[in-house]
């Protein structure tokens, strides 16, 4: 670039009048750049040089076959033949801890594309149907393929087809439980100054409670009765800040001093003292049991033992779940 005389692009005259002489039009992508830029802000071309006229060609294939990550817009190109998918040394390289090192295989043969899960830990889903290990599934334009927690759209033209974009983008995050590892977005740091208020469910005397193990508050005070637990608002006990909790996760039934806990088929399960509950099989809880819904951990306490030991749990908490305020 040392010897090339700077040519003031004559398009400068037809551009915005206030910027005459201070803009450069990129000869490759026709983007208007400020005069001080050395490289085109759009395509990176060295603005004072000339592109090789002999080999003019489109910068991007119009019919690029690729997978597009919805969250970030990243494109993963697919080639004719076998394309490996995984976290290490793969063609489609997904740096996410919910993706196995060798996760799946995508075979491209003309317009026929098939996906095979090759024994991944968190599984492969095509349009919400989980693949059996080793069996190939045909995928078409616009199909959603999920490797672990990474969701990708199959595209034949380098962009997400319109039909997909309006379908389920908005509610994708809201209504699905994350399976596998934590999402990339930083989890808000809970500060000591603002502990969560206790949640009171049922009416009458508090007979049992679930105490948050991380000490941030948000303990659940329960009377006799039957309560649903989950991430969705319609539950009586809402665990809202843990994406690993399912929409409908579990149920608690307290009657005549006996507390039964039942997992209603959650994605990531319910653990009691480290062992996973069988779905739909109630288990009796005892004082001091350690319970984990998704990634949120509680300790089960029966009412009479610790009403004094836990002064932050008011006996006269307001009845509205989630809206109670500490005096």
């Amino acid at each position: 670039m040392d010897d090339v005389t700077q040519i003031m692009p004559d398009q400068g005259n037809v551009g915005e009048p206030t910027q005459i002489g201070t803009v450069k039009i990129c000869p490759v992508c026709q983007t208007t750049n400020p005069g001080l830029e050395t490289y085109c802000s759009e395509c990176g071309f060295l603005l004072d040089s000339h592109p090789d006229e002999s080999g003019v060609m489109p910068t991007e294939d119009e019919d690029t076959l690729c997978l597009i990550e919805r969250k970030s817009g990243r494109k993963f190109r697919l080639y004719e033949g076998d394309n490996s998918v995984g976290r290490e040394n793969c063609d489609v390289l997904l740096a996410d801890s919910s993706v196995s090192r060798k996760h799946a295989q995508i075979h491209v043969e003309g317009s026929h594309i098939s996906v095979t899960d090759i024994g991944s830990t968190n599984g492969t889903m095509v349009n919400d149907v989980r693949l059996n290990t080793g069996s190939a599934a045909e995928v078409s334009e616009g199909a959603e393929i999920r490797f672990g927690a990474v969701s990708l759209i199959m595209s034949m033209h380098g962009e997400i087809p319109d039909t997909v974009q309006d379908a389920s983008v908005s509610d994708f995050n809201a209504d699905k439980t994350l399976v596998g590892d934590a999402p990339n977005t930083p989890i808000p740091v809970l500060t000591q100054t603002a502990p969560l208020s206790p949640i009171r469910v049922g009416e009458g005397e508090v007979v049992a409670k679930l105490v948050r193990a991380d000490g941030v508050g948000g303990d659940i005070l329960m009377s006799e009765g039957e309560f649903t637990i989950g991430r969705k608002k319609e539950n009586m006990i809402v665990i809202f800040n843990d994406p690993f909790v399912s929409g409908k996760h579990a149920e608690v039934n307290i009657a005549s001093g006996v507390c039964l806990l039942k997992d209603v088929g959650s994605s990531n399960g319910t653990l009691v003292n480290g062992s996973k509950l069988e779905p739909q099989e109630p288990l009796e809880l005892h004082d001091g049991d350690e319970i984990v819904f998704g990634k949120t951990q509680y300790r089960f306490k029966t009412g009479k033992d610790n009403t004094e030991a836990e002064p932050e749990a008011p006996q006269d908490a307001p009845n509205e779940p989630g809206e109670s305020e500490q005096p």
Binding site: M1, D2, V28, C29, T38, Y39, C40, S41, E42, C43, G44, F45, L46, S49, H50, P51, D52, S54, G55, V56, M57, T59, E60, D61, S72, G73, R74, K75, R77, E88, N89, L93, A95, D181, A182, N184, P186, I187, V189, Q192, A213, D214, G215, G274, V292, K295, Q297
Partner: protein, 452 residues
């Protein structure tokens, strides 16, 4: 038109003349304090260089290209070190009884001696419960602090999560900026009470990193979970140490403290932006890079003085109209302990897209190539370790794998890590614990840090 790599901040490049210098001051050649910078400001702690794996790329088809970002810190001692805000979190479970706990206490006292009145120290012990031996305070009355340390006695189980949480809270409770914030957590076993699962504990370390608190994990003896401790260090951006003998605990604490006292850059954040037709495929050795369509962003561990940090990533290039292009813009920001301010550095990577593929061979940069080999050796080391753990690899097979990796490391100038692999080989031959050493070697190779 031969010059492809643009170097924003100059220092002597031993490898080739194919590097173009934008700013002239050769900061690393001479005395950094004596060199004026281009901006006429005081000298900054870091310099950055962006090197492309090849100065040429295929114009006619898509290709992949490696990119190396070198961060170099000045080797000269700065007039004033940044004060420390350190919490020592000590496991006092039953298994620490006797020599280990006594040496741990001695190590704590040693730390007290090393610190001065500008530094802030807190000490937390954990067993079934967590106890704050000393809340975060300036190190003024050293004898009094030592008396408190002497009162530490062994307890029962290991509640690692709560210990880590309390330690981070102690560091966070200091309501002032301008400190190097660090938690040192020492344990000799698996977590046995409280929150025990790997992801919750490691995520806690990662959350604290976002708040500017880094966590160094020290594993002692043969019973601790090296996967967990290395995970804490990795996500907490601190260091990982394997301490085989109780008598070594004070020495390792000293080493860590000395490292902390020479930190010149904290909160190191790197951002790549790409033009159309260029994407990032992978950032090597970084726990959670966030990669988007036209960029990538990630955090690097704190940098001590006299270091070179090599960060390797892989780009995917679409086909281009032949010509010279800037394929990446690199922006880096960090808190500079020399100037006390947040500084930013910028750099760029330039590549010429050519139709004649025979020119590609001539453009290979040997330094980037060598970093790539180190990375491959690191992954091999990981594979060897997995093979040993799952017993799919015989001791003989592991030995020959390790010897091969060691040779690659020696050739690439990674002598410290080669030394560690030698230790692992010795441990393997004498029936000792090689994995606890190797997991640390893998982590330190991934950090890409070496002495300048």
């Amino acid at each position: 038109m031969e010059d492809k790599t643009q170097q924003m901040s100059g220092f002597p490049d031993p490898l080739s003349g194919a590097t173009q210098r934008m700013n002239v001051p050769p900061v690393f050649g001479g005395d950094p304090m004596a060199q004026p910078t281009a901006m006429g400001m005081s000298v900054r702690a870091l310099e950055m260089e962006v090197i492309m794996g090849n100065q040429f790329a295929e114009a006619t088809k898509s290709s992949r290209l490696h990119q190396l970002v070198l961060l170099k810190s000045s080797g000269t001692a700065i007039a004033r070190r940044m004060p420390l805000n350190v919490c020592l979190a000590i496991d006092r479970s039953g298994s620490m009884e006797g020599e280990p706990l006594e040496y741990a206490k001695r190590a704590c006292e040693y730390v007290v001696d090393l610190l001065d009145t500008n530094d802030i120290l807190s000490i937390v012990t954990f067993e079934e419960h967590v106890e704050v031996v000393m809340p975060a305070r300036r190190v003024v009355n050293k004898n009094l602090i030592k008396q408190h340390i002497q009162r530490i006695t062994p307890g029962n189980t290991t509640n690692l999560y709560d210990g880590l949480m309390q330690a981070c809270m102690q560091v966070a409770s200091v309501n002032a900026t301008g400190y190097v914030n660090r938690v040192l957590i020492l344990t000799d076993g698996e977590p046995t009470t409280g929150i025990k699962d790997f992801n919750s504990i490691v995520q806690h370390a990662a959350d604290n990193k976002m708040r500017g608190i880094t966590v160094t994990a020290l594993g002692f003896g043969s019973e601790y979970n090296e996967e967990l401790m290395a995970g804490i260090a990795r996500r907490g951006s601190g260091n990982y140490y394997y301490i085989s003998q109780p008598a070594l605990i004070p020495e390792i604490f000293r080493k860590e403290l000395e490292t902390l006292m020479t930190i010149t850059a904290r909160n190191v954040r790197v951002r790549f932006s790409f033009p159309r037709g260029v994407q990032c495929r992978y950032v090597y050795g970084v726990a959670a890079p966030s990669i988007s369509a036209r960029g990538a962003e990630f955090v690097l561990p704190d940098i001590e003085r006299g270091c070179v940090v090599a960060n390797l990533s892989e780009l995917e290039l679409d086909r281009h109209i032949p010509g010279t292009y800037r394929v990446v813009k690199v922006e880096m920001s960090y808190e500079d302990t020399c100037t006390g301010k947040t500084e930013t550095l910028t750099g760029e990577g330039v590549v010429e897209f050519v139709t004649d593929s025979s020119r590609i061979q001539q453009g290979v940069n040997p330094m980037v190539q060598s970093e790539l080999e180190v990375h491959l050796a690191t992954r091999n080391l990981e594979k060897t370790m997995m093979g040993m753990r799952t017993q799919q690899l015989t001791a003989m097979g592991a030995l020959s794998d390790l010897q091969r990796t060691r040779n690659i490391l020696i050739q690439s100038g990674k002598l410290d890590q080669a030394q560690e692999v030698t230790q692992a080989i010795d441990a393997l031959q004498s029936g000792g614990d090689a994995e606890k050493t190797l997991i640390g070697t893998i982590y330190s190779l991934d950090k890409g840090k070496r002495k300048a």
